[in-house]
Every structure is written in structure tokens, then in C-alpha cells.
């Protein structure tokens, strides 16, 4: 590799603050009990998901970010991807960006894999013709030849990820952002993905990955960074960073607790699908739950909180149902 390739990805003092909605601050309370809402304003809680993170990644580098769930690494990746605006600081990107963030969320279950793939390409700025030319390679890479015209609701979660990865991999990226999507595929496909990523890297593609697969981080990354409660606390050689991460993880059961809670909170559907389809993950998950009495308490608390709320407002709605 050339002695000093240019910086293509840079975060400069990136911070992201989320406002926590605490009792007394919801819009509903504001409307119905403005007095109470006004008093609660003073205790307005904020949460810094990402705090003053700075780093630079050079062209052709494989850069990984590790950290417990809830440490802010996925938020950081979303900011890098331009999906979320940093509260302060800025991000610099130099090159065509392809993101692989929990693919499958962009897929429509009632539509065939082929149409979803084309839609995915159109979404990131490809033309239909370009996408149709790429499709045979994508289908072959994903190993979905006989399923590509089936609606995606018939796909297993592994097939979702395979198609998602194949689409991103063939988009001819200059910078590839990868969230922990590869954890779902089977070992053989994972291997294939990492091989492909390595081949992309050979061609000079820059990769920024967020992962829990510490073995893979050690094996493939050139550099790694560790995040803890929104801050970048270590950056350097992957082996050392992963070592530090494991050490700190063992010390802090509180991290595990919030990690589990937030994971379920963030992606309940994905979690349920994973548990239903992967007996190994289900067993590991059950074991983690059993050994954590604190977690039981939190779940009970949540269940009690949610009961009166009854209906989920985020429910996807059917369009066009007028009642004049």
C-alpha cells in the first residue's frame, strides 16, 4: 500500500444528543396538563449517544468500531451514513458511499426479491438499467437463483441478509459502511462476505464496520476503535482494542443490562425472528436472561408501563381508507 493514502472518512468532534421523553414532557401532557409540563421542563433529560468522537480513516483501510450495545456505535455509523445529523461536530466523506445497515429493513415483504433489489438500487441512486445489469451477479452471490421471484415474506432471515449484502457488495462502493448485519447469515456465507470485503479492500475500498464479532474484527481490521457511553476511549491495533473491550465488558454488568434492554427495545421484531429461527441464539439469549435478575425486573417494569398505552402509534397503516 502507498505510504500515506488520503483520508476519506473523518469524524471531527462529532456529538449526538437525544432528548429523552420523560413523564411530564410528552406532547400529550403538555396539552392536557401544561402546568405540570412546564415544571418538568427544568428536569429535561438529555442523553448523549455520541460524544466528541474524532477519527480519520485513510483510503483502503478496514476500520472497525466495537463497544457494548448502547455505547453509541450504531448511532455513530448512522451519522457517518448521513442518516442522522450530528448535534455538533462534522463528518467528512470523500467518495461514493454504500451502507449496509441492517438490510432487510428496506425490503418490502410482499414484493419479490428481484423487485426489492431493483428498488434498493434506485433508492441509493442507481438507474433501473444499471440495476438490471447487476442483478444476475447479485442473485448468484446471494445464492437465491430459485427464490428471487418469490415474495420476500417467504425468505428466511439468512436469505434477507444474503440478498442485502449482495446488493451492497455489487454497488461498486468507494466507502462501505457495515453495521452488524453479518451476524445473521450462516458461517459459510459469512466467510464469503468477509472474503468479498477483503477483495473490495484490495481494490482500494475503504471499510468502516461496527460489529460484535470480535474475532472477525481482529482478523480483518487494520485499526479498531472502542466506544463506551458515547465516547471513543481507545483507538489502535485491533488486537489491543478488542482485548481492552473484553476486559471492560467483564467488569461492567451494568453495560450488559442496558445492552440487552436496548437491543430488545430497538429491534423487537428482528429479535423475535432471530429467536424463532436460530435455536443457538435462542438458547444463548435465554441463558443470558436467566442469569440476570435485574433484567427480569426491567422487563416487568416495562410491561407495566406499556399496558395502559395499549396501541402502538408506529403501526404501519393502510393507505386510502376514507370515510366521508
Amino acid at each position: 500500500m502507498a505510504s500515506d493514502p488520503p483520508v476519506v472518512v473523518a469524524a471531527r468532534g462529532v456529538s449526538k444528543r437525544f432528548r429523552m421523553v420523560a413523564p411530564g414532557q410528552e406532547l400529550k401532557t403538555m396539552l392536557l396538563h401544561p402546568g405540570a409540563a412546564f415544571r418538568a421542563r427544568r428536569h429535561r433529560a438529555t442523553h448523549w449517544a455520541v460524544r466528541d468522537v474524532s477519527f480519520e480513516v485513510r483510503r483502503g483501510e478496514f476500520f472497525s468500531v466495537v463497544g457494548a450495545n448502547g455505547s453509541g456505535k450504531s448511532t455513530l455509523l448512522r451519522i457517518l451514513a448521513g442518516l442522522s445529523k450530528p448535534t455538533s461536530g462534522r463528518v467528512e466523506m470523500n467518495g461514493r458511499l454504500t451502507t449496509l445497515l441492517e438490510l432487510g429493513s428496506g425490503f418490502h415483504p410482499q414484493v419479490s426479491g428481484r423487485d426489492n433489489a431493483i428498488m434498493n438500487g434506485l433508492l441509493v441512486g442507481m438507474t433501473r438499467r444499471e440495476m438490471e445489469a447487476l442483478l444476475p451477479s447479485i442473485v448468484e452471490f446471494a445464492g437465491l437463483q430459485e427464490f428471487i421471484d418469490q415474495p420476500m415474506r417467504t425468505y428466511s432471515s439468512g436469505m434477507y441478509v444474503r440478498l442485502g449484502f449482495a446488493i451492497a457488495a455489487f454497488m461498486d462502493p468507494e466507502i462501505l459502511l457495515v453495521d452488524e448485519v453479518l451476524a445473521v447469515g450462516d458461517a459459510r456465507f459469512q466467510e464469503k462476505c468477509y472474503d468479498h470485503i477483503a477483495a473490495l479492500q484490495q481494490k482500494g475500498v475503504t471499510i468502516v464496520m461496527v460489529s460484535h464479532d470480535l474475532a472477525a474484527v481482529e482478523r480483518f481490521s487494520d485499526r479498531a476503535a472502542l466506544m463506551e457511553r458515547g465516547r471513543l476511549i481507545a483507538i489502535g491495533e485491533p488486537r489491543k482494542v478488542v482485548g481492552l473491550h473484553v476486559e471492560r465488558l467483564a467488569q461492567s454488568s451494568i453495560e450488559i443490562r442496558t445492552a440487552l434492554e436496548e437491543h430488545i427495545h430497538a429491534d423487537q421484531e428482528g429479535m423475535e425472528r432471530l429467536l424463532a429461527e436460530d435455536p443457538e441464539a435462542a438458547a444463548a439469549f435465554a441463558a443470558a436472561l436467566e442469569t440476570n435478575p435485574e433484567f427480569h425486573r426491567l422487563m416487568e417494569e416495562r410491561a407495566r408501563e406499556q399496558e395502559p398505552a395499549a396501541k402502538d402509534p408506529a403501526e404501519p397503516r393502510e393507505p386510502g381508507r376514507p370515510g366521508a
Binding site: 442518516l83 434506485l122 441509493v124 441512486g125 370515510g323 366521508a324
Partner: protein, 262 residues
């Protein structure tokens, strides 16, 4: 190069890709809506037709107002186009939350494709409406040339409202329900089941404030009476311009926080 969230990666073929994206989203929405149903898009005709018939019975025959089915239909078809567009637009960002959180694409394509899908449906139903009118002895008139004008004003008004409603609903979910209620009220505040000249003078302001009133009158003047739309349409144009400006700027102001707000 600083990253501008909300804009997709720059490519040479950007414009064509966005157009293709809108087309793909629109056709997918239409396809999914009638997937597996035997009568398909014909269902979009059933609602205005059935309502027109029953109202012409209830209002025309029972209450004896002399209102006819074709009078009602000429108002109901454009109304349902407006209503279903705005209603569907309200849920479009919230309903595509997964996409907004994970993929960077021009957000404006979502409300546009929703309105476009409903517009296509309306356009397909226009020949049916005209068929009904011809069967009832109305003759094509040169005033029909003004139909694109009324169509364009209503389309732009709908797009402006769609942008506003879709964007604000992300942060204020009640709006979706408020819109539902408002729409069913506006239906009665618009001269659809009555003619505007039957509105008592003291309530004349209702037909000025409501941009749909001159539009509804316009559709009927052209289709039933073969007359050019009246100058009242200027009110609709003014409010349409305002709706487009407010809708677009609200959208631009809020689009960066969609991914955080859902």
C-alpha cells in the same frame, strides 16, 4: 466534501434515477393495494359511484332537493382523489420508518409517489365519469379544455398539503387522526353535495376560505354545464401557492430529523 443528509450519493444519472424511483414506488404502491383482489383498481370506482347513487336517492329523491347522480359524481370523484391522497400522505413517512432510518435517499419521493399513485387512479376513473355524463345526455363542450387547469391546481394543492401533513405527522402523530376528522368535515364544508350558490350569503366566506370550494365548482361548471371556471378559482390558486410554500419549507426544515423522530 461535507455530507448533506437527505441527499443521496451524487451520481451522473441522479435525475433519471430519482424519476425511476418515484415511478417504482408508485407502481409498487398501486400493485400492492390491489394485489390478490379480483376487481383490482375497479374498487377505486366503487366508492364514489356507490356514494353518488345512494346520496342521489337520499338527497334527491327522499329529501326532494332534485340533486342528480351526475351532479354528485362530478364532485365526488375529484374529492376522493384529494381525500385519499392527503390521508395516505399523512402516514407515508411514519409507515416507511425502517427505510428512513437505514437508507439515504431523497425523502421527497415518498409523499410525491403517494400523491402520484392516487392521481393515476383518479385519471383512470375520469373516462368512467365522462361515460356516465355522456350517457346522461351531457355533451362534450369546448370548456372541457379547462379541465387540465382545474386538475393542475388541485394536484399542486394536494402535493403542498401532503408534504406538510407527512412531515409534521412524524413528530406529532395525532395529526394523522386530526386529518381524518378534518377531511370528513371539509367534505361537508365543500359544495359537493350541494351547489355553492345555495350557501346563504352570511356563510359565503366558507366557500372563499376553503380552497376546495372553487375547485369543486370548477369541475362541475366544466363537466356539467360546459362553462369555464369562474374567477373564484383565483382563491384556490393563491391558497395552493401558500400550501406549496409552507409544505415544502416544513418538509425541508424537518427532513433531517426524520430518522431520529421515528
Amino acid at each position: 466534501m461535507a455530507l448533506a443528509p437527505g441527499l443521496a450519493p451524487a451520481r451522473g444519472t441522479r435525475g433519471r434515477s430519482t424519476a425511476e424511483l418515484v415511478a417504482a414506488l408508485t407502481s409498487r404502491d398501486l400493485h400492492l393495494r390491489y394485489q390478490g383482489s379480483i376487481f383490482g383498481w375497479a374498487w377505486s370506482l366503487v366508492r364514489p359511484l356507490a356514494l353518488g347513487l345512494i346520496l342521489s336517492f337520499a338527497l334527491g329523491k327522499v329529501l326532494g332537493t332534485g340533486i342528480t347522480a351526475e351532479f354528485l359524481l362530478a364532485g365526488l370523484f375529484p374529492w376522493f382523489w384529494f381525500q385519499s391522497s392527503v390521508q395516505a400522505a399523512a402516514g407515508t413517512f411514519v409507515g416507511n420508518g425502517g427505510l428512513l432510518k437505514k437508507v439515504r435517499f431523497p425523502r421527497a419521493v415518498l409523499p410525491i409517489s403517494v400523491v402520484l399513485g392516487n392521481t393515476l387512479q383518479f385519471l383512470f376513473s375520469v373516462p368512467v365519469l365522462m361515460g356516465v355524463l355522456l350517457l346522461n345526455g351531457h355533451e362534450p363542450s369546448v370548456a372541457w379544455l379547462a379541465l387540465p387547469l382545474v386538475f393542475a391546481v388541485q394536484l399542486l394543492l394536494t402535493i403542498g398539503l401532503a408534504f406538510f401533513v407527512a412531515s409534521v405527522t412524524v413528530f406529532f402523530r395525532d395529526l394523522e387522526h386530526i386529518v381524518d376528522v378534518l377531511l370528513s368535515l371539509v367534505f361537508y364544508a365543500t359544495p359537493i353535495i350541494y351547489a355553492a350558490d345555495r350557501v346563504p350569503d352570511s356563510y359565503h366566506w366558507v366557500t372563499v376560505v376553503n380552497p376546495l370550494a372553487p375547485l369543486a365548482e370548477g369541475w362541475r361548471d366544466i363537466l356539467l354545464d360546459g362553462e369555464w371556471p369562474t374567477a373564484d378559482l383565483v382563491y384556490s390558486v393563491a391558497i395552493t401557492v401558500a400550501a406549496l410554500v409552507v409544505g415544502w419549507f416544513t418538509f425541508r426544515r424537518l427532513e433531517d430529523s426524520f430518522a431520529d423522530g421515528i
